[in-house]
């Protein structure tokens, strides 16, 4: 029984799907309102996989781009308090502007291709990583920094051997959250103007009342979000082996 505990969540999902299937059949719910899971499954094809891969690719590109830039910005902020005082409030303001409001502008500037989606994904990832990386890079106590000073460590050594490792737990919890936000960003970008991707498929299928395709796109988006979160969680447990995540 103990060894089979991991079977519990999938068990519930299967049960819910079976119930759904039975209810739709028994109550004769029209397929354009709520298709049966079997119909949704039947609508999943190679084209869906193509859209899934497009969105995942855009999201990951935006995620890596934003995470690297945010980390570099955090390093600059921590080394230069003037820069931080000047730019941090701007960053916070940008962060509170909803992406849906900016996405049309991105499409206008970067076109309906992949670039505007990568930018949307990057925009949504950037701030959580920046904020947590700054917090993490400051997390090493004064005591530790004094220890490094008594060892005559250079500022660069202090960053490499003290501050960056101290920042990793903060950084990884932000990366985990950002990775699934990146999927959201890419999809929002595709809503505004695209010729492929899950966001495009969602808009298209809903306007054609192809609700089974709509559902399969929703499931694919959820799967992408869960998958990137799990992968990041796996990497985190190995990279930050010495402690539990401490920031959210």
């Amino acid at each position: 029984m103990k060894g089979a505990r991991w079977l519990v969540p999938p068990g519930f999902i299967v049960a819910a799907l079976l119930l759904w299937e039975a209810a739709v059949r028994a109550l004769h719910v029209p397929a354009y309102l709520l298709p049966a899971p079997s119909a949704i499954l039947a609508s999943m094809d190679a084209a869906l996989f193509g859209h899934f891969a497009t969105t995942l690719g855009e999201a990951l590109a935006g995620f890596f781009l934003a995470s690297s830039l945010a980390f570099l910005a955090a390093l600059a902020f921590v080394r230069s308090p003037t820069l931080e005082r000047g730019l941090f409030p701007l960053a916070v303001t940008l962060k509170t502007t909803p992406l849906v409001a900016i996405a049309p502008l991105l499409v206008l500037w970067l076109g309906t291709g992949w670039a505007s989606k990568v930018a949307a994904a990057a925009l949504i990832c950037f701030f959580p990583v920046l904020v947590n990386a700054v917090r993490g890079l400051k997390a090493a106590d004064l005591d530790y920094r004094e220890l490094f000073r008594t060892m005559n460590a250079s500022p660069g050594q202090e960053f490499r051997k003290l501050r960056i490792p101290f920042a990793l737990p903060y950084l990884y919890s932000a990366l985990k959250v950002s990775s699934s936000l990146a999927i959201v960003g890419a999809i929002v970008g595709e809503f505004v103007g695209a010729t492929k991707g899950l966001g495009y498929l969602i808009v298209l299928s809903s306007s054609h009342l192809e609700t089974d395709v709509l559902f399969s796109a929703i499931f694919a988006a959820a799967l992408a979000g869960i998958a990137v979160f799990q992968v990041l969680g796996w990497v985190e447990r190995r990279a930050v082996f010495w402690q539990e995540a401490q920031a959210e």
Partner: protein, 260 residues
């Protein structure tokens, strides 16, 4: 050490004053630690002992007076000055094993490169001295508080310091371990091979101060000045049951208890 009077000064504090904002911590404090001298700082909790030690290491700036270590101001960098500081807390890096923690000062001295096998052998030797053989690849969270403190001692010793500043190094340890480590430290101090020139140890224990040091500086309440210097003219190994040891202990106890 017997002929301390003639020895050159190693750490000099001249009319040192130090405040944090409105809080005066040290005021007009003058003392000299000579070469080949092991001294202890004794005083009420919160009187400024840690602050004094941090001033010697150049970690805090005095608001008045001067600090000189080997004739230099430690605020202007301690490069080339082999100074090790052991803090009240172990301050181990949790992502490094025992051995890697001990190697840290050597890596930093090498400009951040990995330590050589020779350095590793040296670190292993010091870990044996502090009785941590077999724990080289343990992470700090797997060690008890006392063991962590011993790793911190090993880390302080690995760079062959000339000046060793110890802030209540063994306060968290049980008495047996504490005695054993005190003995080890005295052995290191007496070792003619060791480059140690001066040791300054903050302690709460009269016994520890008398067992190890050549002189004991007794500080008064905040703002702390030097209240009394007690010479300890006893040869090592010291016997705590000897009449002279007991007499000195009584004298120190009276000094520490007496209101300022």
């Amino acid at each position: 050490m017997a002929s301390a009077d003639e020895a050159a000064p190693c750490i000099e504090l001249e009319a040192l004053s130090l405040r944090f904002g409105a809080l005066k911590v040290l005021e007009g404090l003058s003392l000299t630690v000579r070469e080949r001298e092991f001294v202890s700082l004794l005083g009420p909790s919160g009187c400024g002992k840690s602050t004094l030690l941090r001033a010697m290491a150049g970690l805090v700036a005095p608001s008045g007076g001067a600090v000189r270590v080997c004739g230099r101001d430690p605020r202007e960098g301690t490069q080339g000055l082999q100074l090790s500081f052991m803090f009240q807390k172990p301050l181990l890096l949790p992502w490094r094993t025992t051995l890697e923690n001990v190697l840290l000062p050597l890596e930093i001295a090498l400009g951040g490169n990995r330590a050589s096998p020779l350095d590793e052998a040296k670190a292993q030797r010091i870990l044996r001295r502090v009785r941590l053989e077999g724990f080289e690849s343990a992470y700090p969270r797997e060690l008890s508080g006392g063991m962590q403190q011993r790793v911190a001692l090993a880390r302080a010793l690995v760079s062959d310091p000339e000046i060793l500043l110890l802030d209540e190094p063994f306060g968290a340890l049980d008495e047996l371990t504490r005695d054993a480590l005190n003995e080890e430290l005295v052995r290191l101090w007496l070792d003619p091979q060791a480059p140690l020139k001066a040791v300054v140890m903050v302690t709460h224990s009269l016994h520890e101060a008398l067992a190890m040091s050549d002189r004991v500086f007794v500080l008064g309440a905040r703002p702390a000045g030097l209240r009394e210097t007690v010479e300890v003219p006893l040869a090592h190994p010291r016997r705590p049951e000897s009449a002279e040891f007991i007499r000195l202990q009584g004298r120190l106890r009276a000094l520490v208890r007496e209101p300022a």
